[in-house]
């Protein structure tokens, strides 16, 4: 309905002044917001001896990357990062795969139980984790004993991956199903007319169309699964198999007085998701959009 709008210069100036004020206000708070992170980065760049001799507010006499080098060497951060990789990548792939499968069936085919499945998956994603973690532990041990190897699922990357998939697949299903509803029915119909069976229908027709949603979701999922630390504490008794976020617990206790080393370790641990966020921001936001609003 937009017509050319004539607004008085005064109104526009007023608006501008208000906006500048708001901008400055929010900008100031943005600095306060990010300050703790900046402080940690700052701490990680100063050598331990400087702090001991001159205090935490002292003017920097040395800036050094030594803490990072030491962190990698002493804290075995490389090992933990690798573990994070081993756990996160398969978890994300499996979660998206399973989520797309269920969303596919539920949106493309009419079955009475469709709604119930969706409800089950969405609700499952919202259960409190403490409700399940001890029985899951028992289950892993029991299944392991059944096959003669206690470590089949417990203390095993596979078990950790399974748990992550189980917990996140609900969200993936929910998001992908709402996205799939926007894919026109005609596409599916013409695929079946052309003689495609269900599998072809999924693999060749629908899956390629899901790419934007999958891209967005994968960014979200990677962040969440990478950042998760609690399950590994319960299900991995070998410290050397734990992802970096869980290992930070042990490192925090061991290096409690060596702030600078610990800061470097924390920054290294945070780096992957932060970098991913800045590089893939659009996908991130797209993922959240798909997940939060419907239709």
């Amino acid at each position: 309905m937009s017509t050319a709008v004539v607004q008085s210069a005064e109104y526009r100036n007023n608006q501008k002044r208000k906006d500048t004020f708001i901008s400055i206000f929010i900008g100031f708070f943005a600095f306060v917001w990010v300050f703790p992170i900046l402080w940690t980065v700052w701490t990680s760049l100063r050598p331990y001896n400087d702090i001991i001799s001159y205090g935490i507010f002292s003017w920097p006499r040395h800036i050094t990357l030594d803490n990072y080098i030491n962190a990698i060497r002493e804290m075995k951060i490389g090992v933990y990062l690798l573990n994070s990789l081993i756990v996160t990548v398969p978890s994300v792939i499996l979660t998206l795969f399973f989520g797309s499968l269920v969303a596919f069936v539920v949106t493309r085919y009419q079955y009475k139980f469709n709604l119930w499945i969706l409800l089950l998956f969405t609700a499952g994603n919202m259960l409190p984790i403490v409700l399940t973690y001890i029985p899951v532990f028992w289950m892993f041990i029991w299944v392991g004993e059944l096959f003669g190897n206690r470590n089949l699922l417990y203390n095993n990357y596979g078990g950790l991956i399974l748990v992550h998939v189980g917990f996140q697949v609900g969200f993936a299903t929910f998001v992908l199903s709402s996205y799939m509803k926007t894919i026109p029915k005609e596409i599916s119909e013409s695929a079946t007319i052309d003689g495609a069976n269900v599998f072809r229908h999924y693999w060749n027709v629908i899956l390629p169309l899901l790419r934007p949603a999958l891209a967005a979701l994968s960014v979200l999922m990677t962040t969440w699964i990478y950042n998760e630390f609690f399950w590994a504490l319960v299900l991995m008794s070998d410290d050397s198999k734990r992802p970096i976020t869980s290992a930070l617990r042990r490192l925090q206790g061991q290096y409690v007085t060596d702030f600078n080393l610990l800061a470097a370790g924390a920054i290294i641990a945070a780096a992957p998701t932060v970098i991913m966020f800045f590089v893939l921001r659009k996908q991130f936001i797209a993922g959240l959009t798909l997940g939060s609003t419907k239709g």
């Binding site: 532990f137 470590n151 504490l233 008794s237 410290d239 061991q254």
Partner: protein, 436 residues
């Protein structure tokens, strides 16, 4: 669950080991039994967990484990874990795929899990080491329910009143003469007058304050009453228990402001920085003083908590007993047992000490003749006591000590006036625990 049977009456002190024990020949070997096992072990792998301890812990573990490998040909794979996480998830870890041997604690924590089948029965290994271990140590490692030992005793340490000699001299008192409650109150009062903390306590974890409670209760009502109380034979609402808390309440005005913020390391730092008059703690932190400077270490002193009731004098002390346990579900149980026995044997002990372990070992072979003044004082503090407690969270059942007593004491420190309600609550919760 007759938990009370878990608590052994420990009237005899571990005197044989403590007071400048006569050293056995330094080259004493393990008994014949282990020599057999040694040949069987060659080529196998044993897994060891170091429970906390940082770099020193790793160094000690490496020294002992390497010596074991040299002796038996078995490979040892060691890892260090966060002590709190290990303890918090102990039941899960033991049921899962635990390492074969690890450092653990005597008392409820080894007896209970041993009775449940999660820790290996170490009767044979204790038999091999019997010649070197005081009877009281063996008894303290044995479950009174199953009569089997699930831990090989190695070290212990006293909980005592620590202060700095220089600070005590500064306020005009004699550091060698803090003997009774009045002396103690005088020390705190004068220190506080100087603008410092009288009595420091860090109760962030809930367990630290148990040291103060244990010793007050033992001083005022005696060792037997304390053990009875922890096992439900005496009541928390009893007037005698209330008396203990009355004395505890007297300490609160002398405490630091940030009691709930700090743990034992904060307490240590307060003393290190000369900001507090006295504190009740286990002596394990002394090495940190030594690391700071020899002068600080020389200034450190420890005495038994002063006498309150002349009937009991200073006859009781908290001296937790630590040792080595073997996981029943480990992959190499026999290897674990052999490794555990090695750690607890004079040979293993010698390696640990060489690598920097400063703990006091119960073993009769442990040579204390080269002990410095502070360590000799530790031994004296231990020797002064007839009765040994293992600390509340090892003497009482696990679902009572941590979840119920800990918060109750914390709430008391925050609001001493609520003590009656708190005690009623504790008693009600004790009554509600499942007992069979």
């Amino acid at each position: 669950m007759s938990e009370e049977k878990n608590i052994v009456s420990r009237r005899s002190v571990l005197k044989g080991a403590a007071v400048g024990g006569a050293a056995l020949a330094a080259g004493s070997t393990l008994s014949a039994g282990t020599a057999d096992a040694a040949t069987r072990l060659k080529g196998s792998t044993v897994k060891w967990t170091t429970r906390g301890g940082g770099a020193t812990g790793d160094a000690i573990a490496k020294a002992v484990n390497d010596a074991f490998t040299k002796k038996t040909g078995a490979k040892v794979v060691a890892q260090q874990v966060n002590s709190d996480d290990f303890q918090n998830n102990f039941a899960q870890i033991m049921q899962g795929s635990p390492d074969d041997a690890f450092g653990w604690m005597a008392g409820y924590r080894s007896n209970h899990f041993g009775e449940m089948g999660l820790l290996a029965d170490l009767t044979r290994e204790i038999g091999h080491l019997k010649a070197n271990l005081p009877t009281a140590a063996i008894k303290g490692s044995t479950s009174p329910v199953s009569k089997k030992p699930y831990i090989l005793p190695t070290t212990y340490y006293p909980w005592g009143l620590h202060y700095r000699k220089s600070m005590v001299k500064d306020i005009g008192m004699n550091p060698e003469k803090i003997n009774n409650w009045d002396d103690f109150v005088k020390l705190m009062t004068l220190t506080q007058k100087k603008g410092l903390v009288g009595y420091s306590l860090g109760a962030k974890g809930g367990w630290e304050a148990m040291g103060t409670f244990d010793i007050l209760n033992a001083r005022i009502n005696g060792y037997k009453y304390h053990i009875d109380l922890l096992n439900g034979r005496a009541k928390w609402t009893d007037a005698r228990t209330k008396e203990t808390f009355k004395y505890f309440a007297q300490l609160i005005p002398f405490m630091n402001d940030n009691v709930m913020d700090i743990s034992w390391d904060g307490m240590r730092d307060l003393l290190l920085q000369k900001k507090t008059g006295a504190m009740m703690m286990g002596s394990w932190f002394a090495n940190d003083f030594k690391a700071k400077s020899q002068a600080d270490y020389d200034d450190l002193w420890v005495v038994p908590f002063p006498e309150i009731n002349p009937k009991f004098g200073v006859d009781t002390i908290d001296a937790p007993l630590d040792g080595i346990s073997v996981a029943a579900n480990g992959k190499n149980v026999s290897g674990g047992k052999a490794l555990a026995e090695f750690w607890a044997s004079p040979e293993g002990i010698a390696q640990a000490v060489k690598a920097g372990d400063t703990n006091i070992y119960v073993s009769k072979s442990f040579d204390t003749s080269s002990y410095d003044a502070f360590n000799k004082q530790k031994l004296a503090v231990l020797a002064a006591a007839k009765n040994i407690m293992f600390f509340l969270d090892r003497d009482a059942r696990g679902d009572f000590a941590g979840p119920i007593v800990g918060p109750a004491i914390q709430n008391f420190i925050k609001k001493p006036a609520d003590i009656n309600k708190i005690l009623e609550n504790m008693q009600a919760q004790w009554d509600a625990l499942p007992k069979n």
